[in-house]
């Protein structure tokens, strides 16, 4: 009786293990606004999460100039490289930030610049690879304003 129970439990557990789905790549931080922009840039092709890193300080001392770096994990060979990187925002007066064109001559897919942030919001960087695939990374920023406004 005990042995049968043990076997049944083991089989059940085995079934559980088999039936449990493979852990999916984490979904991008939700933002309907950014979803539309990403889909537009990717011509409605599927956009993976990962391979791209949007590096920006989570706490921004002044929204006039926030340093950021976008890096894409890519060998940057003629056969496999990053073609373009686009950055979009949620809450500035305009959604576009910049679109960078790279290529195999780049050697490394890493671009740095400084952007304006009107308020705390979510940002996205999308990369288009030479094989036609698209990848994205999102980052949240909290923007503090100067305590005393000049003039």
């Amino acid at each position: 009786m005990k042995r049968r129970r043990l076997l049944q439990t083991a089989a059940g557990l085995g079934a559980l293990v088999v039936l449990r789905p493979v852990a999916a790549a984490p979904a991008p931080a939700p933002s309907p606004v950014l979803d539309v922009l990403v889909q537009g840039f990717a011509n409605n092709q599927p956009v993976g999460t990962g391979r791209v890193k949007l590096g920006i300080s989570p706490l921004i001392e002044n929204g006039n100039a926030a340093p950021l770096t976008v890096t894409v994990d890519s060998p940057m060979t003629a056969a496999d490289h990053v073609k373009r990187i686009a950055i979009f925002n949620e809450k500035n007066p305009e959604r576009d930030v910049a679109i960078f064109t790279l290529g195999p001559r780049a050697g490394r897919a890493s671009v740095s610049t400084r952007m304006r942030l009107a308020t705390s919001q979510r940002l996205v960087a999308v990369a288009e690879l030479s094989d036609g695939s698209f990848w994205q990374d999102r980052a949240d920023v909290i923007v503090t304003l100067a305590a005393c406004i000049e003039e």
Partner: protein, 106 residues
């Protein structure tokens, strides 16, 4: 002529991946700010940046008002042969500026 600063390594070995840092003095006026008197300050931004290594474009950028004033653009390229890196900024009101820097590749 806006002041620029283009930084490349003094020399590189063939095949090295080198970083190029560029800065240009430009207000990148968004077109959303109001000046004294309440009227909107018109948009005046750099819209396009290209970097040519010899004849070939190795990096380009399309910029929008969300890019900060006195914009920094920093990127990488593979050192192939000794040559000239030519950076061009173009924008509103006919703004166009080019800076060339020599790169020594051994």
């Amino acid at each position: 002529m806006a002041r620029t600063l283009v930084t490349v390594p003094k020399s590189a070995k063939r095949g090295d991946v080198i970083e190029i840092k560029t800065l240009i003095a430009h207000p990148m006026e968004t077109g959303f700010r109001t000046g004294d008197g309440g009227s909107v300050l018109p948009r005046n931004i750099i819209r396009r940046f290209t970097c040519r290594y010899g004849d070939e474009v190795v990096f380009a950028a399309q910029l929008f008002p969300a890019v900060s004033a006195n914009p920094l653009l920093s990127f990488f390229t593979v050192a192939t042969d000794s040559g000239t890196l030519t950076c061009t900024w173009e924008g509103d009101n006919g703004f166009a500026q080019t800076e060339s820097v020599a790169l020594t590749v051994t």
